[in-house]
Amino acid sequence: MSGAASASAWRGPAKLVLKRTGLALVTLVLVSAVIFTISGLLPGDAAQELLGQGATPEQIAALRQEMGLDRPAVVRYFEWLRGIALGDPGQSLVANKPVAEIISERLPNTLTLAGLTTLFSVPIAFLIGIASAVSRGKGTDRALNIATLAMVALPEFLVATIAVLVFSVKLLWLPSITIVPQDPTLWEFLRAYAMPVMVLGVGVIAQLGRMIRAAIIAELDRPYVEMARLKGVSQRRLIFRHVLPNAVGPIVNAMALSLSYLFGGAIIVETIFSYPGLASLMVNAVTSRDMPLLQACAMLFCATYLLLVLIADTVAILANPRLRQG
C-alpha cells in the first residue's frame, strides 16, 4: 500500500473487487429464491392461517385475492424481491405492521450487541492467537488449544447459565435479564450489556483465536521469517511488523466468519436474556409462522453474511501487493 503506486497498478485489484461484488449480488438473489421457495412450500397459506379452521372456502378465496396470493408464485417472488430491494418487505401477518417498521425498531439493538461483542472479543482473540502461535507446540500453546477447543463446543445456554450463576446469583453484580434503561449513563449501559456480550464473546474469541493462530503459523514457516530472525529482528517486531501485515488476508477472512457466527449465537443469547434484537424477532416469526417477517429477517442475515465475506475479500485483495503489479 505504498503511496507511490501509480493509478494503473490498482486496476487489477479494482477489477477483482468488482467481480466479487457482482458474484455476491448474484448469490444473494439465488439465496432469496431459495428462501422464498422454502417458506412458500408450507401446506396451506397465509390466508388460511389468518382465518383459522372455521373459515369458509369463499372467505379464504376472498382474502387470498386481497393479499394477492392467487397470483402465480413467480410474479409474487419478483414483487417480494423488488420490495426487499426497495426496503419494503411487506406487512407482518401477526403484528399487522409493516415489516420494515418492526425491523427498524430492533436493528439498532442487534447492531449494538454485535458491535460491543466485536470490540470485546477481537483484541482477546488476537492475544490468544499470537500467544499460542509464538509458543507453538509448547505448554502455553497446548493449554490454549484445549481451552479454545472446548470453548468452541460449549452451547451458549450453558455459558449463559454459568454467567448468571456467577455474576447475578453469587456475586450480585449484574442483572440476569438485559434491560437497557432510557438515556443510560455509561455505567448503566455497560452493566446492562456485560452479560450478553461476555456469553456471545466466548464462542467468537475461541473460534477467531484459533484461526488467527493458524494464519500466523502459516506465515512463520515462510523463508522471510527465518531471514528476519537471522538478521536479529526481535520477536515482538517480527510478529507485528513482518508477520501480521502478511497475514492480513486470512485474518480478515477469519474475522468475517466469526462475526457471522455471532449472528447465529445471538439467536440463543437474545432469547435467554430477553433482549429485543433481530435474532429473537426471527425466532418469534418462526413460532408464529409470520412468513413475511421471517423472510425479511432471513434475507437480512444472509445479506449481512455475504457483505462481511465481501469486505474480507476486498481487504485481502487490496492488502496483497502481488495483485497490484498489473
Partner: protein
C-alpha cells in the same frame, strides 16, 4: 482394524484425546442403557419440592415440576445422541454422494452442483434451519431431516475437494482407461481413499448438529413434548435461571461434555496430520 490395533491407537492418544474418547463412549452407553437405569420414570412427580438441590435420593435435584432431573437426563440423552448421529449420517451420505457425483461426472454436472451448494452455504446454518422449521414444522422425522439438510452443503464442500483431488490421480485414470463405469470409479476407487479425512469432518459436523438440535429444542422449535432431549430440559427449566438451578445447569453441562468430548477426540486423532 484389529482389537490390538485399536488398543494401540488409543494408548497413543494424548491425555486430552483419552478424556475425549472416554466422554464419547460414556454418552454412547448412556444413550443405549439410559432409560433402563433411570431411578424414576421420567414423567413422574417424584419430589414435592421444585428446583431442589442435589441429594442422595435425587442426585441432580428436581426440575420445575418436581420431577427427577437425573431420570429425565438419562432419557433425554437418547434423543440428543441418537437423532444427531442419525442426522449426521444422513447429511454425510447425501453430501458425499453428491460430491462423488460431481467428482466423476461430466464437467457441467460438477459446475451445476458446486454452484447450487455455494448458494446454500451462504445461508448461515441456524438461519437455514429456522426457515425450514417454519415451513415444515418439527415432527421427529422432519426435524432429523431438516438438521441433516442444513449440514449437507458443508459436508459436500469438504468431500468434493477430497474427491476431485483423488479423481485426478493415476490409479483412477487407469481404472477409467480400463473402461470402468462412473459408479465403480466413485465407490471402489475414490470413496475408500477419502474415508479417513471424511471421518474427521463428520465428527466436527456431529458437534455442530448436537448444538443446533439442542439450540432448536431450547428455543421450543425442536423436539416437542412429551419427547424431550437435553435442549428441551434446559428450556423447561429456564424459570430456574435466575436462581442458577441445578435442573438447568445439569442438562446444559451434559450437552457440553458430549460436544467437548468429541472435539477433544477429533483434535487428538488428527494431530500431526492437520496443523
Amino acid at each position: 482394524m484389529t482389537v490390538s490395533g485399536i488398543l494401540r491407537a488409543t494408548r497413543a492418544l494424548p491425555l486430552s484425546g483419552k478424556i475425549g474418547l472416554a466422554l464419547v463412549l460414556f454418552w454412547i452407553v448412556i444413550a443405549i442403557v439410559g432409560p433402563f437405569i433411570a431411578p424414576y420414570p421420567p414423567g413422574s412427580f417424584a419430589n414435592e419440592e421444585v428446583f431442589a438441590g442435589a441429594s442422595s435420593q435425587f442426585w441432580l435435584g428436581s426440575d420445575f415440576l418436581g420431577r427427577d432431573v437425573l431420570s429425565r437426563l438419562l432419557s433425554g440423552a437418547r434423543f440428543t445422541v441418537g437423532l444427531s448421529a442419525l442426522a449426521v449420517a444422513i447429511a454425510a451420505s447425501i453430501g458425499t454422494g453428491i460430491a462423488l457425483t460431481a467428482a466423476v461426472g461430466p464437467r457441467w454436472v460438477d459446475e451445476l452442483l458446486s454452484r447450487s451448494m455455494d448458494t446454500l452455504i451462504s445461508i448461515p446454518s441456524k438461519i437455514f434451519a429456522l426457515v425450514l422449521v417454519a415451513a415444515f414444522g418439527s415432527s421427529l422425522v422432519l426435524l432429523t431431516l431438516i438438521i441433516a439438510i442444513t449440514y449437507v452443503p458443508g459436508n459436500f464442500r469438504i468431500a468434493r475437494s477430497l474427491a476431485v483431488g483423488l479423481a485426478q490421480l493415476d490409479f483412477v485414470e487407469v481404472a477409467r482407461a480400463r473402461g470402468e463405469g462412473r459408479l465403480y470409479l466413485a465407490l471402489s476407487e475414490v470413496l475408500p481413499n477419502m474415508i479417513r479425512p471424511l471421518f474427521a469432518d463428520i465428527g466436527l459436523r456431529f458437534v455442530f448438529i448436537v448444538l443446533l438440535l439442542s439450540g432448536l429444542s431450547f428455543l421450543g422449535l425442536g423436539l416437542q413434548p412429551p419427547d424431550a432431549d437435553l435442549g428441551s430440559l434446559v428450556r423447561e427449566n429456564t424459570s430456574g435461571l435466575a436462581e442458577g438451578a441445578l435442573a438447568i445447569m445439569a442438562p446444559a453441562a451434559a450437552i457440553a461434555s458430549l460436544t467437548v468430548g468429541v472435539n477433544l477426540l477429533i483434535d487428538a486423532a488428527t494431530q500431526g496430520k492437520v496443523q
